[in-house]
């Protein structure tokens, strides 16, 4: 695990450094910009889906889905970050007690 941590951390640092070091015209193009804007959206959406509905290799609908719905409601009410996360964990824990 340490190897992955150090490689990923080093890679993330080099990405930041490359942005500051490389002349702007080398990698800047509208196509690259648009792909880079899409990437976080797709990755985060996929992470939400898998961390809510996957249990190993099986798709399930369990208490985590209720937690995600509560997080969505907190988000719609413009709650701060910690409240959003707390809404999800408390709801999920409560659903497991039922």
């Amino acid at each position: 695990m340490w190897t992955a941590i150090l490689l990923a951390a080093g890679g993330c640092y080099l990405l930041k450094l490359a942005g500051l070091s490389v002349p702007r015209r080398v990698i800047e193009s509208p196509r690259v910009e648009r792909a880079a804007a899409r990437l976080p959206v797709a990755l985060l959406a996929a992470l939400i889906a898998t961390s809510t509905f996957a249990a190993g290799h099986v798709l399930v609908l369990d208490a985590r889905a209720g937690g995600l719905a509560a997080a969505g409601a907190a988000l719609a009410l413009r709650a701060p970050f910690l409240v959003i996360v707390a809404a999800a964990t408390v709801t999920t824990a409560a659903l497991r007690l039922v």
């Binding site: 941590i5 951390a9 490359a18 702007r24 996929a46 898998t50 290799h57 937690g67 701060p80």
Partner: protein, 212 residues
Amino acid sequence: MDDHSRPAVLRDALGIGVAVGAFGLSYGAIATASGFSVLQTCALSVLMFTGASQFALVGVVGAGGSAIAGAVTALLLGSRNALYGLRLSSMLRVRGARRAVAAQFVIDESTAMALARGRRGFWATGVAVFACWNVGTALGAFGGAAIADPRTFGLDAAAPAAFLALLHPRLEGRRTRVLALGAAAAALVAVPVAPAGVPVLVAAAVAIAVRD
């Protein structure tokens, strides 16, 4: 909004730092609940220092994915920092050791403040967020490590909630929302057949392949 005076910039930077510190608290708790040691959790916040990538790494590994799949996801999410750096380089004009230090501070929050408030906004926000993020991480990590079974407290639902909070401000326009739904669907379709952690990368491939 465009108050560039020193006290105003420092006050706003500190405000952002405190908000991010709270975010670090939940990262620390989620990371230890996902099986990372306190030291590993804190090392990531010092060395990687880009929240979404860190959440992704611990989220993928916590869901049973390989360390490699987690690292690749973290790197893909970190690639946006390179584009931030491109925008910032002409404003910051840093060389040598100062550039090496500035690079670590190139994140969402410092870039937003730099674009709104200039060079001082970048440095003030970078330092404030770095300090608060790492303190928050340590507190969360020790708290999370003290909990025997994270599922009892619903902590396994904390990661999706955190991802949702990160995604929400990026969901502007119908095309973006369609992309998000498509990516989520592609990942779920891949869950039964692909090794854990890989479904997220399938979604990334969809995002790169799609045409504007």
